[in-house]
């Protein structure tokens, strides 16, 4: 189960509201490579994992992503506080505002609502962990692009933190993949799917 802690993982303290930045940063909440998707992807994939290291890494990183969801939501919330309608009109945040006012809604910056179509859970160790490596890279570059648009040091502190977490997660998923590979057939890693074929006598690769 999950227990809530009434604090953020990292301080989010944004002195100056900025609806334009909020309109971009919401993408890391509900965009195709955002934190909602990351948490759903990892916390869903872990059930099929046959190896303890993969269960542990997916649980720990998936749980951290829930905390990142909250950080991104806090950033958008603080960037849009105390605004007047005329400050929003004409900004890139206006279209979002019409639908959601200043509520937090999981959507991409380009307006597409969060979709499970942007994640996978294949029930296959190598396929899932390889997807996770790619997912961390896609989130990392989204943070790079947010940094290109933001000159607010309060925002960038938190964005830089989140971006660096993607790099650390990439490293752990990569190590996890190698630990899983070690437990699979050394001649042909694709001989079976240990998440599904475990109930039958494991075939061995010839040669």
């Amino acid at each position: 189960m999950f227990l809530y802690e009434k604090k953020l993982q990292f301080p989010v303290k944004i002195a100056t509201p900025n609806p334009k930045l909020a309109a971009f940063i919401i993408s890391q909440y509900g965009g195709p490579d955002g934190e909602v998707g990351a948490a759903m992807r990892y916390l869903s994939q872990r059930y099929a994992m046959p190896f303890a290291e993969a269960k542990g890494v997916l649980t720990d990183i998936g749980t951290e992503e829930l905390g990142h969801m909250e950080m991104i939501a806090a950033i958008v919330h603080q960037l849009t506080r105390n605004l007047k309608a005329e400050e929003i009109a004409g900004s890139p945040f206006a279209a979002y505002f019409v639908d959601h006012t200043t509520g937090i809604y999981p959507t991409a910056a380009s307006g597409f609502p969060w979709s499970a179509g942007s994640i996978q859970s294949t029930g296959d160790v190598i396929a899932d962990l390889t997807e996770d490596l790619a997912a961390e890279q896609k989130a990392r570059l989204t943070y790079d692009n947010i940094l290109r648009f933001s000159d607010d040091p309060d925002v960038n502190n938190a964005i830089r933190f989140l971006r660096e977490r993607e790099i650390v997660h990439f490293q752990r998923f990569g190590e996890c993949l190698r630990l899983c590979k070690e437990k699979m057939d050394s001649k042909n890693i694709y001989l079976t799917n240990p998440a599904f074929d475990k109930t039958t006598a494991m075939p061995k690769a010839k040669g």
Binding site: L8, L147, R160, V168, C176
Partner: protein
């Protein structure tokens, strides 16, 4: 040395920001260099500020905005301790044999526990069960984590 796990690089000059790779490896599967055991570590405030405990994994983007530093508050001090516990815990998932890291993990977990209790006694409960030890029900006390005010200096 096991090709698939951390340990250390046989080359004496292998830098901290490099990891180990198998000298000969099966085809058609990705390989990320394995972080070596006993990597260099930042102090907790620097770890939180950088987003990693490990200098070898700190790979920032070229665009930097100067001028804002992390607030030194009781909350950020607790966040820094908790971050080291989280980062070491994740490292141990793939390096369970690194005894130095496990010793540090135990030390930081104890420090975090004490710091959390001290924070809660002063500023109110962080968990629902801690709300039971107050004289009145303090869970609804403002501010909430996403509010600007919780992150102000106090």
């Amino acid at each position: 040395m096991n090709n698939e796990t951390g340990n250390s690089c046989p080359l004496p000059s292998c830098p901290d920001h490099y990891g180990t790779m198998p000298s000969c490896a099966g085809l058609a599967v990705p390989y990320v260099p394995f972080q070596q055991n006993a990597p260099k570590k930042y102090a907790q405030e620097e770890a939180l500020s950088n987003g990693t405990l490990f200098p070898g994994l700190n790979l920032p983007f070229h665009l930097k905005t100067e001028g804002s530093t992390l607030p030194a508050t009781p909350l950020s001090e607790l966040q820094a301790l908790e971050f080291v516990v989280l980062e070491l815990g994740m490292y141990l998932d793939t390096h369970p044999e690194d005894t130095e890291a496990f010793t540090l993990f135990k030390q930081y977990a104890a420090m975090e526990k004490a710091a959390k209790a001290a924070y809660e006694s002063k500023f109110g409960p962080l968990t629902k069960s801690a709300a039971a030890s107050g004289e009145t029900y303090g869970w609804l006390k403002e501010p909430w984590p996403w509010n600007y005010e919780q992150n102000e200096v106090k």
